[in-house]
């Protein structure tokens, strides 16, 4: 071959990772831009928005591609596979990945807008913060679109490490520091566990590519699959940690409470999306044949998460902590959908989508009430909010009721979906546990509403938040209701998101 040939770049489906590229490059540019021109916050905001929008556009392009794949006839398939699985089958361009990106970009946008006050407070470090947010977003969406364990690991680390930093980005806050170190130590352990699981899976199956693994697993009869099983177990644990499922949740409350108010919503949501994306890819794509083995395990984790999350959330006096524990419970609810195996994919994604939006919105309200840079948010600071800032009280109520799974909110449709799947898969007992857990959950969501509407106001003044915050909160609430009333479109969008 000639030198020229060597220089010609390989023809790979860049489009499959275009959004990640945009996010990553965007992050780098923002840092550069910041150093060079010392831009105003508004300009930074604009730049960030630009990056997100660009990524969003590429995602739409991807969506369009995926449609063509899905509608492909058999004879086309062969040459489409190359596009669908670029980079030598390490990346996949399927509805899962696309849906994951949509969700992640939406959450990122909402989260940044809702917590914008934080970045105003961060001063010189604002750009860093934004860059980190974009990077982590890239990492987690990358997880969602990898079919190779090593790629998943990379995405995981890119995302997680950025989050460690974000957790402690407000240096002056000692609690934020505590949150950071806890998150970091436990997180890195979890990552280590995960990658060890990868290694063992590799050792046990001979490949790190989910599709190949699936092939191998389905072909071979394992006499003593211990290594492989331990591998799966460790990967489940690692992801369970990321999505803060019990008993791997202990970091979540501390981090959610300690991390800066403006960003914690994003942190929580992003980690959940990434974690679940990877989890269902691993379990559904690589190990459908072990479903009967890992199903009960996941069910057990789900039940534990729901019960522990709800009951402990009941006795929290800090709204952020309460939301953290309710997050544990929600991880359980989503896992309820996971036990159903491939069939439950769309319901799981739907749940992820609506829940993360609610979560971001809720933390946005918390930030607006208790401060975007501060740690913690005592429930007392919400007393009589309906009299002080009706808008915040109203949106918060909608979001909380949405999380509680009340009908006419997206939360209900999501819960209903996963319950149906679980029941269909024969996990009736899990559904019973789930509905009871959601009754307990009503308690603490309502407790906040009680404080906001039925108790006398405390005198600490809460400013009506700025436009960006208002829009994102309103949007989150609106989505919650609209999807609740008309779930069809999103459901069918998620419906396509079944993995290959």
């Amino acid at each position: 071959m000639t030198f020229a040939q060597v220089l010609t770049p390989p023809s790979v489906g860049w489009i499959a990772i275009a959004p990640e590229i945009v996010l990553g490059v965007g992050a780098a540019l923002i840092l550069l831009f910041d150093v060079q021109f010392k831009p105003k916050k508004s300009q930074l905001a604009f730049a960030t928005a630009l990056v997100l929008v660009t990524a969003f556009v590429f995602t739409i392009v991807q969506y369009d591609r995926v449609q063509t794949f899905n509608s492909a006839t058999t004879d086309q398939v062969t040459d489409l596979v190359a596009q669908a699985f670029p980079f030598n089958l390490m990346i996949v361009l399927d509805s899962n990945a696309v849906f994951g990106r949509f969700a992640m970009l939406l959450v990122t946008g909402l989260g940044l807008a809702a917590g914008w006050r934080l970045f105003e407070r961060l001063g010189a470090r604002a750009a860093e913060g934004l860059a980190l947010v974009l990077l982590s977003a890239a990492g987690f969406t990358f997880m969602a679109s990898s079919t190779h364990l090593m790629m998943i690991f990379l995405g995981l680390e890119v995302g997680s490490i950025s989050l460690y930093v974000l957790a402690g980005i407000t240096r002056e806050q000692p609690r934020s520091e505590e949150a950071a170190i806890k998150y970091f130590l436990l997180g890195s352990v979890a990552s280590a566990v995960f990658i060890y699981g990868v290694a063992l899976t590799y050792a046990g199956s001979g490949s790190m590519n989910l599709l190949e693994i699936q092939g191998i697993v389905s072909r071979t009869v394992f006499t003593r699959p211990a290594v492989l099983l331990i591998g799966i177990a460790l990967m489940v644990v690692g992801m369970g940690f990321k999505v803060s499922a019990a008993p791997f949740h202990s970091w979540a409350p501390d981090v959610y409470q300690g991390a800066p108010g403006g960003i914690v919503g994003y942190m929580a949501s992003a980690a959940k999306i990434g974690g679940f994306a990877a989890l269902i890819r691993i379990l559904f794509t690589a190990f459908p044949d072990f479903a009967s083995t890992w199903g009960p395990l996941v069910a057990g984790i789900a039940a534990l998460s729901m019960l522990l999350g709800s009951t402990v959330a009941l006795v929290q006096d800090d709204v952020r902590r309460m939301l953290a524990y309710s997050g544990v419970a929600h991880a359980g609810f989503i896992l309820t959908g996971v036990v159903a195996g491939g069939a439950g994919t769309s319901e799981v994604w739907f749940y992820l989508g609506v829940y993360t939006v609610q979560l971001v919105g809720a933390f946005g309200v918390v930030a607006a009430v208790a401060g975007a840079a501060s740690s913690g948010a005592s429930i007392d600071s919400f007393r009589g909010l309906s009299k002080r800032v009706p808008f915040l009280a109203a949106t918060f109520s909608v979001l909380l009721l949405g999380m509680s799974g009340l009908p006419l909110t997206s939360g209900f449709v999501a819960k209903f979906g996963v319950f149906t799947e679980a029941w269909q898969a024969g996990y009736e007992w899990l559904v019973i546990v789930a509905v009871l857990a959601s009754v307990i959950a009503f308690f603490f969501y309502l407790r906040v509403i009680v404080a906001m509407y039925m108790e006398e106001p405390v005198d600490e003044a809460v400013a009506m938040p700025g436009l960006s915050v208002r829009t994102s909160l309103a949007l989150a609430a609106l989505i919650t209701i609209v999807i609740g009333v008309l779930p069809g479109p999103l459901l069918s969008l998620a419906g396509e998101a079944s993995p290959l």
Binding site: I181, K182, L185, L186, V189, A190, V193, R224, P225, A226, L228, L229, I230, I232, A233, L234, V236, V237, G240, F241, A246, P247, F248, S250, W251, P253, D254, F290, T293, W294, P296, L297, G300, I301, L308, T311, V312, A313, L314, V315, Q316, I440, F443
Partner: protein, 631 residues
């Protein structure tokens, strides 16, 4: 005319509605007059509608459908117009009219004058609903509505706590009776699939076995005992005297309390199918008659005497209808309506003249002051004592005759009847003498005076009826008998023994008893007070027991009311609030405590978190390896 029969009910009802909204504005006496007219009109219509039965012997009744009510159970608003209904209608509207007139005078000056007539009219309408109803449900409706009216009228002077309590008591005790009645209706429905009379009575023989019939009969008896104040449910009637006297006369003497008798007569076929039920009715009646009479002996409140005497007389009627002497029962019902109404109105006139004094110990020598009242009441006293040829004699005698003819237990009942007759004669005479003769024992400042026309005229009219009504059904000429026969053609009506000799003998005995009682009373109570007081002390504890009505109210209170209250409190405050609700809140607390316990694990120390993490990790690994058959 029968098509317009609904007017009989509609007129008084209209009167009630009209007076309810405009009565206040009309004021005295116009409101009263309108009320009276509406009843009088209803009487007229009723009379016109009754003519067919009078002119042609044995004319059959017919049922007039007004509109559907509860078709699912064959219960519609329909009027069964037959001779029995006609008699009842005429009694109710007739006596009702007179009492309305009387009330115009009696209620003079009461601030709720118009309201009083509203209630009276409403009562007439309700009572007519009861007797005209063409199915059990409608009868039950009237049954309850008269209860309502009685409640309203007893507690008419509601600012008097005793009056309010009495009204409530009357309604609740009646409800206890209704409970039985209702279950009776359920039984009827389950057996016949309908509550309409014409769907039930003809088919009694083919459908009801004796046991069921007896059961139904006894359940109806419970209801009847409630309305007609029989043992053990009579306790409300004496208290009902808290109401204005015209009310006592109309509702608690002449009409409403006779509903039970009417019910038994109306449902005669059922009682015929279950004769034992009838017998029980008769026995209850006899016991009540004696029991109440004995209490009446020692009462000093002029109205209480009459109240217990009413209870006792109703007992007579129960004997009659229980033994199948339906016509005799209805006959006595009618005569009693006249003379008892007269007695009550008379007592009302006395009370009115004595400035609301009711204690006979504070009366005496009133004959000169209020001659009309005195004489008319005297007539009534003779009538109730069963002195021929007054109405009371004929009807009471017929009942005793029926009892005698029945034989066996009937003889016992006959004896009881006689004793009761004697006692009745005694206490009524006692009353008359205590009130109208002897030296005045009035409180200072009391200026007895004869009552106004509006009150005395009804007295006179009733006196005339009291004298004459008896001839409606003498052994010589059984007018009422023939008049009523068509209504009872489904059953065999019991009669007094045939033959003049038998009649004369029985009559002689009963009249003898009557005279004996009167003589005794006259002998004692025509003389100065201390004499009869010594006479009364002669009876010692017995007399006290009578005066205290055997303390039945206290017994009920101690055995039913207080324990009931206790139970209710237990359930409400201990069991419900503490037990059940405590349990509910307990569950909530339990869940919380789980939370508080669990949250302790969240120590905030990284290594503890690590331990938890690793523990979970090991658990997961082991589970998977084991479940996956890894080893």
């Amino acid at each position: 005319m029968t098509d317009a029969i609904w007017l009989v009910i509609a007129l008084p009802l209209a009167g009630a509605v009209f007076l309810h909204f405009f009565g206040r504005r009309l004021g005295e006496p116009l409101a009263g007059i309108i009320g009276t007219l509406s009843v009088a009109a209803s009487f007229a219509v009723g009379f016109a509608a009754a003519l067919p039965f009078i002119v042609e012997e044995g004319a059959h009744g017919e049922t007039v459908m007004l509109w559907e009510w509860m078709p699912a159970i064959g219960a519609n608003l329909e009027i069964a117009w037959d001779s029995l209904a006609a008699v009842m209608t005429l009694i109710i509207t007739g006596v009702g009219t007179l009492i309305h007139v009387f009330s115009i005078g009696y209620m003079h000056g009461d601030e709720r004058f118009a309201r009083f007539f509203t209630y009276l009219n409403l009562f007439i309408a309700s009572m007519l609903t009861l007797v005209l109803g063409g199915n059990f449900a409608m009868v039950f409706m009237g049954w309850e509505l008269v209860g309502l009216c009685s409640y309203l009228l007893i507690s008419f002077w509601y600012t008097k706590p005793s009056a309010a309590a009495a009204g409530k008591k009357a309604f609740i005790v009646n409800r206890i009776g209704d409970f039985g009645f209702m279950i009776g209706l359920m039984l009827v429905f389950t057996n016949f699939g309908t509550l309409a009379f014409d769907g039930v009575f003809e088919r009694v023989p083919e459908i009801l076995d004796e046991g069921t019939a007896t059961a139904i009969g006894l359940l109806f008896l419970v209801g009847a005992a409630g309305k007609s104040a029989q043992i053990p449910l009579y306790v409300w009637l004496p208290d009902a005297m808290e109401g204005p006297t015209p009310v006592s006369a109309l509702i608690h003497a002449a009409t409403m309390v006779t509903a039970g008798v009417y019910l038994v007569a109306r449902t005669a076929p059922i009682f015929e199918a279950g004769p034992n039920a009838g017998l029980v009715v008769a026995i209850v009646g006899a016991l009540t008659a004696l029991w109440a009479a004995s209490i009446a002996i020692a009462q000093s409140d002029i109205k209480k005497v009459l109240a217990y005497s009413t209870v006792s007389q109703l007992g007579y009627m129960f004997i009659a209808v229980g033994l199948g002497g339906y016509i005799a029962g209805i006959f006595h019902l009618m005569t009693h309506a006249f003379f008892k109404a007269l007695l009550f109105l008379g007592s009302g006139s006395v009370i009115h003249g004595m400035h609301d004094e009711q204690d006979m110990n504070k009366m005496g020598g009133l004959l000169k002051k209020m001659p009309v009242t005195g004489i008319t009441m005297g007539v009534a006293t003779l009538a109730i004592a069963g002195i021929p040829p007054l109405a009371g004699f004929w009807s009471k005698d017929e009942i005793l005759g029926v009892a005698f003819e029945y034989g066996g237990v009937g003889i016992v009942l006959w004896v009881i009847g006689l004793v009761t007759a004697l006692i009745t004669a005694f206490y009524m005479t006692r009353q008359w003498f205590m009130v109208f003769t002897g030296e005045p024992r009035w409180d200072k400042g009391v200026e007895p005076h004869e009552s106004p026309r509006s009150m005395t005229v009804p007295l006179v009219v009733l006196a005339v009826l009291t004298v004459g009504a008896g001839f409606l059904n003498t052994p010589f000429r059984l007018t009422l008998e023939h008049f009523l026969e068509p209504s009872f053609e489904l059953v065999k009506v019991a009669h007094p023994p045939e033959g003049w000799g038998m009649f004369a003998l029985l009559a002689a005995i009963s009249v003898g008893a009557g005279f004996a009682g009167m003589a005794m009373a006259g002998f004692v109570y025509s003389r100065p007070r201390e004499i009869w007081e010594r006479f009364q002390q002669g009876f010692g504890r017995l007399w006290e027991a009578w005066a205290a009505a055997y303390r039945v109210d206290d017994i009920y209170g101690a055995t039913l009311v207080t324990p009931g209250r206790k139970l209710s409190e237990r359930l409400a405050f201990t069991f419900d609030a503490g037990g059940i609700d405590g349990l509910v809140n307990g569950v909530g607390r339990a869940v919380r405590s789980v939370g508080t316990r669990t949250r302790v694990l969240q120590t905030g120390l990284v290594r503890n978190y690590g331990v938890g993490f690793v523990a979970g990790l090991l658990a997961v690994v082991i589970w998977l390896v084991v479940a996956g058959g890894g080893v």
